[in-house]
Symmetry: C2
Subunit: 247 residues, 2 copies
């Protein structure tokens, strides 16, 4: 049985302010929770799961003896879950220490200028992980990677990509030795860019694109050639297409 105050405290982790204060976040489901437990990227504080899940994952439990595992009924899971349809297990993890510096020399760094949709943010983290991108730099106005919707969308890639939240203009000025590329509707076609060994690639906001101040620090604009008539591509889709061509 989860106490009322404990239920409230877990629910509070759906809000960024409380996640930041407590340095914790939640992850859910029989696929994601074991994956995060196995990567070891995040210390796990406590797990709430139905009996069946605990029985099936006995081995995993034994290898995490500092974690508190709690058997709960489904209706209790419903109370603490951030999902419309809770699924067997919810875990509370500690956030990693914030990334303070990222090495941009010799590798590809992905930069997000105010990606606000948590679904897009989660999908982009997975894309970065798929293409072996280790560093993601986000403007301070971007969606929080520990938002439950982002966490669920990352499918475990959360522990494999380093994310830095910072003021993009200042950060770009500090990294002036590395060429800066931007996804744009008015640039050079994708095919005119070969494979890149080093570079900073910026993806802009879903509705407004890249801000003017950031755009002034861009060296090359990359455009995905449009053959049909759609007005735009989803930001995560554009990220995937660009990375698949230049990485």
């Amino acid at each position: 049985m989860i106490s009322k105050p404990h239920t409230k405290y877990i629910q509070s982790l759906q809000h960024k302010k409380l996640r930041d204060e407590l340095n914790l976040f939640i992850a859910e489901g029989p696929k994601l929770v074991p994956e995060l437990l196995k990567t070891g990227a995040f210390a796990c504080k406590e797990v709430f799961a139905v009996k069946e899940w605990l029985e099936e994952n006995e081995k995993l439990l034994r290898s995490h003896d500092s974690t508190s595992f709690n058997e709960v009924e489904f209706f209790e899971l419903e109370k603490i879950s951030a999902l419309t349809t809770p699924n067997q297990v919810l875990a509370v993890f500690e956030k990693r220490s914030p990334v303070v510096d990222i090495e941009t020399k010799g590798s590809i760094t992905l930069v997000l200028d105010t990606i606000q949709d948590p679904g897009n943010m989660g999908t982009i983290l997975r894309i970065a992980d798929w293409f072996g991108i280790r560093h993601l730099v986000c403007s301070v106005g971007s969606a929080d990677i520990y938002n439950p919707k982002v966490v669920q969308g990352t499918m475990g890639s959360l522990g494999r990509v380093n994310v830095l939240y910072t003021d993009l203009v200042t950060w770009l000025q500090q990294n002036k030795g590395v060429k800066v590329y931007a996804a744009s509707l008015q640039g050079k076609g994708l095919s005119s860019f070969g494979k890149l060994k080093e570079g900073i690639i910026i993806i802009g906001n879903e509705a407004h694109g890249i801000s003017d101040e950031v755009m002034q620090l861009v060296n090359e604009k990359i455009t995905i050639p449009r053959i049909g008539e759609a007005e735009s591509l989803n930001a995560a889709v554009a990220t995937g297409i660009i990375l698949s061509h230049v990485v």
Copy 2:
């Protein structure tokens, strides 16, 4: 003022069964509604909008004299809206006549095997439109393109792509002269495929991929090379990446 029965009837269009029976669907927002009105792909039955929107779009209104335009208060819009945050205008459109046949010779046809997430379906419609794909064939278990979440995600591409819902196995057997490609984790790398002039490209379900019966009719499997460790890519992202390489 919208009457109670009229409110209920518009709300009912959030359900597939009623959309099918009434042959209608809803679209919302000051960007999407004018775009759909301008394409002329769908006959517009009625529009409910706040005063400001009606004043700003007077010209558009005059060119649609068979449509009933109704001024409503914001609280009324909230009642009929399918969005969490309603936005100025909601329109009721007639669905197009169902597509019965699609010409696969000489062009690229995109096929979806049970894409269930409405967000993915909307994004894929936009991607198809971006790459000039005119024909989309969906298994009967795929998300309905007239689902409000799909409609909102298409950003107006809905009127420019022909969509056929059908049994994929039967349909593929009827189109045997055209080469069939499938997105798969175990295939040949993307770069070994040149630009295609003709072909059927199949994208599978978010969790289960392409069904066995459909896979048996596939000629070539296409794989997006994985450099990092992510377990999978989002279905819409995979669609975008594959099309950007082969179209």
